[in-house]
C-alpha cells in the first residue's frame, strides 16, 4: 500500500514537470475555489506542492486517480476543476457535477468517471447507491479490470466486512445474478455479499458460514439457517456439528441473553427430535423467564413430559400455563397435551372440558391470525427476530438515503454549476432508490406475515392433533357405554413430592405466588380400572 502511494507520488511529480507543472492546474481552477487560488503562484515550481497540499490522497483510489489524471494530458478547464475538487476531498461539490462531467469527460477517462461515482457515493454515505453503482460497474469487465477499476475493487473489499450488516443493503434479484456471474468472485466483497444473500438459503448458507470470520453479525443467523435446514431434513448429526463448531463459539462471544436463550431452545428442540428427552428438558428449563420465547419453551416442554410419562410435572406445568397469567400468550397446545394426559388417566369429564377450553381459547387467536395474514401491512408487537429487524432497518436505511439525496439535489441548485436546477443524477438516484424501497417494503410485508403464518400452521397442527384425541375419546367412551363399565375411584397416578428432598414444597391453594408459576407439580388420579389404557 505504502509502496503504491510512493510510486504514485513519484510518478505524479515527474509527470507534472512534463506537462508544465502547476500552471496547467492553476489556469483551470474555477472561480468558486478562489481561496485556494490565492495561495498559488503561477509559474513557480514550488507552487506544485502548494496545490497538492490540499489533496487528500489517503486511499489507493485517490492515489491512482491522481496519478492517472496527471498523466492524462491537457484537459478541459471543467474536467480539471472537477478532479481538483475530488482530490481535495470536496466530495459533495464533486458529486453535484457528476452529470455535467459525464458529457465532458474525455473517453480515456470515462472509466475514471464511473469509478469516481462509486467512490463519491461511498464517501457521502449513500451506501445503497454505492452498492448499486459498484454492481453496475461489475458488468463492465473492461472497466473493472482497468488499473483504476482494480484499485476501486481493492477499496470496496476493504469496506466489505461490515458494509452489508451495518447498512442493511437491499440486493435485488438482478444484482444477485450479477454478483453470482462475476468470475473469480472470491474477494471480501463477494464473500460478504454472498453471505447477505445466503441468510435465507437453507443449507446453501454453509459456504458463507465458513467463509466469514468469527464475530461477524451474519455468523449467528447463517449458522441458524444451516442448522434449521439440516434439522428439517433430519440430519441431526450434521446439525449438531455445525452447532458445536460454529454457533456455540459465536454465542459465547456475543454474551447476549436473548441469543443464549434462543440457543437453548433450539438445542432442546434438536435433542427432543433426537429422542434425548431428559437432555431436552434440561435445556427447555434453561430458557430464562424474561426471554420472549420463554412460554414457547415451556409449552414444548409439556410434550417432553408427556413422552417421558412425567405426569406430576406435566399437569403442574399445564396448571400454570392455562392460568389467567398466560391468557395473552399464544400457546394452543396446552389443552392438546392436557387432554391426552386426561385421556391417559380415564378422566373423560376433564377431556370434555379441555375441548371446550381449546375451542374458546383458540377462537380468539384464529380470528387474529387470519385477519393479520389478510392485512396488507400486518403488525407484530412481540419480540422481533433478526430477520424482522433487518427488514425494518433496510426500509429505514433506504428512506434515510432518499432524504439525503433529496437534500443533495436541493443543494445542487445552489452549487456553482454550468447547469441549472436539480442535477439529473440526483433525481435518477432517487428513482432507483424508490424502486429499492418498494421492493424492500414488499419483503418487509413478507417478513411480518411470517410469524402469523407460522402461528396459523401451529394452530392448524394443534387442531389436527385434537381431532385424533376426539376420535380416541369418543371410541373409549362408546366402549365403556357398550360394555357398561363404570370408572374406578381414583388411583394415585403421580407423586409430586418424589425427588423433592432438597427442595421447598408448598401446597398450591389457587393463588399464584410469583415464585410458584411454572413450578407446580400435580398429584393426579387415574380413574381407569386397571393400568392406564394409554
Amino acid at each position: 500500500m505504502k509502496k503504491l502511494l510512493l510510486a504514485g507520488l513519484i510518478l505524479s511529480a515527474s509527470n507534472a514537470h512534463a506537462i508544465g507543472g502547476a500552471d496547467v492546474l492553476l489556469n483551470n481552477v474555477s472561480s468558486d475555489d478562489a481561496s485556494s487560488e490565492k495561495t498559488i503562484v503561477v509559474n513557480d515550481r514550488t507552487a506544485e506542492s502548494t496545490v497538492f497540499e490540499g489533496f487528500k490522497l489517503n486511499d489507493p483510489v485517490m492515489v491512482q486517480m491522481f496519478t492517472e489524471w496527471r498523466t492524462a494530458g491537457k484537459l478541459d478547464y471543467e474536467v480539471n476543476s472537477w478532479f481538483m475538487k475530488l482530490l481535495q476531498g470536496k466530495y459533495e461539490q464533486a458529486s453535484h457535477l457528476l452529470s455535467v462531467m459525464n458529457d465532458k469527460m474525455p473517453s480515456e477517462l470515462y472509466t475514471h468517471m464511473k469509478v469516481s461515482e462509486v467512490y463519491l457515493y461511498h464517501k457521502l454515505g449513500l451506501n445503497q447507491r454505492f452498492f448499486d453503482s459498484w454492481v453496475d460497474l461489475l458488468k463492465d469487465k473492461k472497466a473493472v479490470e482497468s488499473r483504476i477499476g482494480m484499485t476501486l475493487w481493492q477499496y470496496v473489499d476493504q469496506k466489505a466486512p461490515g458494509f452489508f450488516s451495518k447498512n442493511a443493503i437491499h440486493i435485488t434479484a438482478a444484482q444477485a445474478e450479477t454478483i453470482k456471474n462475476v468470475e473469480n468472485a472470491n474477494t471480501p466483497f463477494f464473500v460478504y455479499a454472498n453471505a447477505a444473500l445466503a441468510l435465507r438459503s437453507g443449507k446453501e448458507a454453509y459456504q458463507s458460514l465458513i467463509s466469514i470470520p468469527s464475530g461477524h453479525p451474519f455468523k449467528i443467523p447463517l449458522a441458524q439457517t444451516v442448522i434449521l435446514d439440516m434439522a428439517r431434513n433430519n440430519e441431526l448429526g450434521n446439525a449438531g456439528k455445525v452447532l458445536k463448531k460454529y454457533l456455540e463459539p459465536e454465542i459465547e462471544k456475543v454474551s447476549d441473553p436473548y441469543v443464549l436463550g434462543e440457543y437453548y431452545l433450539n438445542l432442546a428442540r434438536f435433542l427432543y427430535q433426537a429422542g434425548a428427552m431428559e437432555a431436552a428438558e434440561s435445556y427447555y428449563l434453561k430458557v430464562p423467564n424474561k426471554h420472549p420465547q420463554f412460554t414457547q419453551a415451556r409449552a414444548e416442554l409439556m410434550w417432553s413430559y408427556l413422552r417421558t410419562g412425567k405426569t406430576a410435572e406435566l399437569r403442574g406445568q399445564v396448571a400454570s400455563l392455562k392460568s389467567e397469567l398466560f391468557s395473552e400468550y399464544f400457546i394452543p397446545e396446552i389443552y392438546v397435551v392436557r387432554s391426552i394426559s386426561n385421556l391417559k388417566l380415564c378422566q373423560y369429564g376433564e377431556v370434555e372440558k379441555d375441548f371446550q377450553n381449546f375451542i374458546t381459547a383458540n377462537k380468539k387467536w384464529a380470528q387474529i391470525i387470519q385477519s393479520r395474514i389478510k392485512e396488507e401491512s400486518p403488525k407484530w408487537s412481540e419480540h422481533k427476530d433478526f430477520f424482522l429487524k433487518l427488514a425494518d432497518q433496510r426500509v429505514a436505511a433506504i428512506e434515510a438515503e432518499m432524504k439525503k439525496i433529496e437534500e443533495l439535489g436541493k443543494k445542487s441548485i445552489k452549487a456553482a454549476l454550468p447547469a441549472v436546477g436539480v442535477q439529473p443524477h440526483w433525481s435518477k438516484n432517487n428513482k432507483e432508490l424508490a424502486f429499492h424501497l418498494q421492493e424492500a417494503k414488499k419483503k418487509r410485508i413478507v417478513e411480518y406475515k411470517r410469524p402469523w403464518i407460522n402461528r396459523e400452521r401451529i394452530l392448524a397442527e394443534a387442531i389436527k392433533k385434537m381431532k385424533f384425541v376426539k376420535i380416541e375419546t369418543m371410541s373409549q367412551i362408546r366402549d365403556l357405554t357398550r360394555k357398561n363399565i363404570t370408572l374406578g375411584n381414583g388411583n394415585k397416578a403421580s407423586d409430586p413430592l418424589a425427588k423433592a428432598e432438597n427442595k421447598l414444597v408448598f401446597p398450591y391453594d389457587g393463588v399464584f405466588w410469583p415464585d410458584e408459576v411454572l413450578n407446580l407439580k400435580a398429584q393426579a388420579e387415574s380413574l381407569c380400572l386397571g393400568k392406564a389404557a394409554l
Binding site: L228, A231, R269, Y272, Q273, E300, W303, L306, R307, R315, G316, A319, I340, Q347, G349, V351, E352, Q356, F358, I359, A366, Q367, Q370, N454, E456, R457, I458, A460, E461, I463, K465, K467, F468, V469, M474, I477, T486, L487, G488, P496, L497, N502, K503, L504, V505, F506, Y508, W513, P514, D515, E516, N519, L520, K521, A522, Q523, E525, L527, A533, L534
Partner: protein, 234 residues
C-alpha cells in the same frame, strides 16, 4: 391406542420447526367448531389434581460460609445492670439443614437506673459476676422453612432454626464453661444476605463476692446481619 399416541407425539415433535404454511381448506374457526364433543357423553366420575409448588431453594446453603455481625440485649440480667453485646459469628453450612457455628461475643455492661440509685443513694454496688466476653461453638438445625410476600413481585424465604452451643465465658470473677440453646428465624435477601433474629438461652456458673457458686441463666435477644460466600450455587 399406543400407536395413536405415538403418532400424535411425532406430529408434535416436528411442529417446533414449522415455518411455512399449508393452505387450510377450511378456516381455522370452522375447524375449531368441528372439534366440539357431544355433550354429556363422558362418564360422570371426576377427580381433582392436588397441586404443590416444588422449588429449589432460592439460596442453596450446601457448602456455604456465612459470616455475621450481631447486636443483642440480655433480657435476664440481675436487675442492676443493662447488658448489651456485639458479636462476630461464622457458620459453615454442611447442607440446607445442618450447619456448624462459631461465635465470639463482646459484652458491654452498665448500671441501669436501679443500679445507679443503689450506688448514689446507698453507696452500694450490686454484687454481680457479670459477663465480659463469650466464645463458643455449636451446631444448628433448620427445622422448617416458609416464605412471605411483599407486593406482587417479591417473595422472601426464611428458615426457622435451633442451635446448641458450648464454650467459655469470661466473667468478672474468672472464666467458666457455658452452654446455650438458640432459636430463631433466618431471612434470606437476594443470594448473599441474611438477617437472623432470635433468642439465646445460656447457662453458666457464677461466683458471688463471698465465693458462693450458683448456676445462672441469661436470655439474649439478637439481630444478626450476615453475608454468604462460596457454596455450590452462589
Amino acid at each position: 391406542m399406543k400407536y395413536l399416541l405415538t403418532l400424535l407425539l411425532l406430529i408434535g415433535s416436528v411442529n417446533s420447526f414449522a415455518e411455512e404454511t399449508t393452505p387450510a381448506k377450511k378456516s381455522l374457526e370452522e375447524q375449531l367448531e368441528e372439534l366440539n364433543l357431544p355433550a354429556n357423553q363422558a362418564p360422570g366420575a371426576v377427580s381433582k389434581d392436588k397441586l404443590y409448588s416444588v422449588q429449589m431453594r432460592y439460596v442453596p446453603l450446601i457448602g456455604a460460609h456465612e459470616v455475621s455481625l450481631s447486636a443483642g440485649n440480655d433480657f435476664q440480667t440481675d436487675g442492676h445492670l443493662t447488658t448489651r453485646q456485639a458479636g462476630l459469628h461464622y457458620r459453615y453450612h454442611i447442607n440446607d439443614k445442618w450447619s456448624f457455628i462459631g461465635n465470639y461475643v463482646k459484652v458491654f455492661n452498665e448500671l441501669n437506673n436501679s443500679g445507679k440509685i443503689l450506688l448514689e443513694e446507698e453507696k452500694l454496688v450490686a454484687d454481680s459476676d457479670y459477663l465480659m466476653s463469650q466464645a463458643d461453638i455449636g451446631a444448628e438445625y433448620n427445622m422448617f422453612y416458609g416464605k412471605f410476600r411483599l407486593g406482587s413481585h417479591s417473595v422472601f424465604y426464611f428458615d426457622q432454626y435451633w442451635g446448641l452451643t458450648a464454650g467459655m465465658v469470661e466473667l468478672r470473677r474468672g472464666a467458666t464453661p457455658i452452654v446455650g440453646l438458640d432459636a430463631g428465624l433466618a431471612f434470606w435477601f437476594g443470594k448473599r444476605l441474611s438477617l437472623r433474629t432470635g433468642l439465646k438461652n445460656h447457662v453458666f456458673e457464677t461466683t458471688s463476692g463471698t465465693g458462693t457458686k450458683a448456676y445462672n441463666r441469661n436470655m439474649v435477644g439478637y439481630l444478626q446481619l450476615g453475608y454468604l460466600m462460596g457454596g455450590s450455587n452462589l
